[in-house]
């Protein structure tokens, strides 16, 4: 009963929020708000404990839909800067989902996911420069395929490696990525990177829906934010099912007891490589989306620092869990604004050394503190509090 009541409360809050944010056109706002309220109520009721237990796929679908819907309504009401942050954060969520899956299911860790993002990012940029006007979905699929292929090559040793060897190898890949791009300089544009020939513009139906946009919000940034949010939703849905699938369960056995896994007939090499490939493919999808959002790609973005940032986000959010990846993505989306706020309120010079390194100092310290004091991160802490609740 308690879950039902909290579900209805969530529905009410969401409905009010929907009316409040809405869209510029008054009539449309009312209709959408009603639909949203009904939808949210239905979803909330359906995702109650019983549905989650008996029809997990239905519940996962509905949860995904509600998360995406809330985010989409949000993107139409915020301003362009926040929407760009959200787009980058949503793409980052995809990357974090991949790393979370790798660690949560197979117990391995990769320090090279920033470079795998780069693989996807450059695939998109190179393709767009050679084939004008390809459908977006095709370009993103190509990024995923390229990421998976490189992931497979680097994942091969994962078949036999234990412990930190794989982490060290992926670190070497991340550090080397810039030089590797230079080897293929005629394709990748060397140090200056690539510009996309034409920006990803909002389609006509969306332009009609938000005719002029508002002063602070262009239709294009709404479109880009929606695009990445939907992509993150799709990635999230696949990942939720993958975690729960037979393959996901067999990987968790590999993580917890590889000898037992082998005894029940799981092929360790295949399981480990597959997990690694999936994580690389997710990273490449996130990187491809970044290229589309930024409309350009530079090699320096995809250096070792990015891989470390990815690791920090996933550990702080809660490694090995889906909520952890989402929390990490949100932290990423708003970390720059938060650090700007800190800089402004502590009187640091924004161009000074300390201000420019604040990001690294804070994330690094949080990373160490999280792994020492709360290895399960924010989502683990929330889960523990939830389990202790008295109602």
């Amino acid at each position: 009963m308690a879950t039902r009541i909290s579900a209805i409360a969530v529905a009410l809050v969401a409905a009010v929020a929907a009316v409040a944010v809405g869209v510029p056109t008054a009539g449309l706002r009312l209709v959408l708000a009603l639909i949203a309220a009904l939808g949210v109520a239905a979803v909330a009721a359906l995702t109650s404990a019983r549905v989650r237990r008996e029809h997990p796929v239905v519940a996962r679908t509905l949860i995904t839909v509600i998360v995406v819907a809330v985010a989409l309504i949000g993107t139409a009401r915020l301003n362009s800067n926040v929407d760009t942050d959200l787009s980058l954060g949503a793409a980052m969520t995809i990357v974090l989902l991949g790393l979370s899956f790798l660690t949560g299911s197979s117990g391995q860790i990769s320090l090279g996911n920033g470079a795998f993002m780069g693989v996807g990012a450059f695939t998109v940029a190179i393709w767009a420069n050679h084939h004008h006007s390809s459908p977006l979905i095709l370009v993103l699929v190509l990024a995923v395929v390229a990421g998976a292929a490189v992931g497979f090559l680097l994942g091969l040793p994962a078949t036999r490696l234990r412990g930190p060897y794989l982490a060290g190898m992926t670190l070497a890949f991340a550090v080397a990525f810039g030089a590797i791009l230079n080897v293929f300089g005629s394709w990748t544009g060397g140090d200056s990177g690539l510009q996309l020939p034409n920006a990803e513009n909002a389609p006509h139906w969306l332009t009609h829906l938000y005719p002029a946009g508002t002063a602070s919000l262009s239709v294009n940034s709404v479109w880009l934010a929606s695009l990445t949010v939907v992509a993150a939703g799709v990635a999230l849905f696949f990942m939720a099912n993958l975690f729960a699938s037979r393959f996901g369960r067999s990987l968790r056995l590999v993580r917890d007891n590889d000898v037992a896994a082998e005894l029940v007939g799981i092929s360790l090499p295949r399981a480990r490589v597959t997990a690694f490939v999936i994580s690389a493919a997710y990273a490449a999808l996130g990187g491809g989306l970044w290229t589309i959002v930024n409309n350009a790609v530079t090699p320096s973005t995809y250096g070792f620092a990015l891989s470390v940032t990815i690791l920090s986000l996933v550990v702080i959010g809660g490694i090995g869990t889906i909520p952890g990846a989402i929390i990490g993505g949100l932290i990423y989306a708003f970390s720059n604004s938060a650090i700007g706020w800190i800089t402004a309120h502590t009187g640091l010079s924004p161009q000074g050394n300390v201000a420019s390194q604040l990001n690294g100092i804070i994330f690094g310290a949080l990373l160490v503190l999280t792994i020492v004091f709360a290895p399960l991160g924010i989502s683990g802490a929330i889960r523990r509090l939830w389990a202790r609740r008295s109602w």
Partner: protein, 299 residues
Amino acid sequence: MDAFWTSRVMSDILGGLTNGVIYALVALSLVLIWRSTRILNFAQGAMAMLAAYVGFAVLAPSTNYWVSMAVAIVAGVVLGGLTERTVVRTLYGKPEINPVVAMVGFLLVLESVAAAIWSTTSRSLPTPFSIIDWQLAGRPVAMSPFALYEVITAIVVMVVVAVVFQFTSLGLQLRAAALNPEVSRLLGVRVTRMLTLGWMLASGVGAVTAVLVASNYFTGLTPTTMDGVFAFGFIAAAVGGLDSPVGALVAGVLLGVAFQFVGDYVNSNAIILVALGLLIVSLMVRPSGLFTRRTERRV
């Protein structure tokens, strides 16, 4: 004979040797820590970098090179001890990814702090010897007084480490603590103290490495100076075997020479590709390294 010393092949060998001893030192530092605490110290390069900054940036540039070097080594040793006592000690017996994550976080903190204090602008270090190559019959030999000093310093460090481990009571205790902590403790070895000492020793080796790297390479000293060197050092350690100090040294020197040839005959950007390929192949063929006895885990 002159033509031989200035030939392209010999130049590559000599140039590779100077890089190789650096990789060997980084690898040695990693192996020392891995053997005693089963932790791959991803912050090794950053700790060494910080020690070099303490030696060369805190003191005025006019200070004597050798004083700065000594200060850097002391800073490295202290930093190693502090790190073990504060961060690393909480990680023993945890799942194997926890130390990886913690050390990467520590790496990020150290590099950011160094950049916040000293900025990311490259700082060139004084060199005690000329960096101009010797000449033979009007052609340069790929070896300068400074490069020779580098090689000799590296060899001295290696010999000191070897002597400490093989011929002193302290070394015996260090080895015993790494090999079997429980039994050593029963026999009166202060194991926790040995672990701290192991980190201090490795970190001191790291400080020497960072000073050599920062004064030799045209990049100078920056907060990320050691990133690339660390990657090569790790590759050497992994190829040689994380459990084998000798393997790490041999692999480091051989890789240094091999990469010099690749850089000279192919292209300098190809070095890291070759290195990665080599690492992947070597890890697939002999996951525990070329110089270690195999301990197979099978059902």
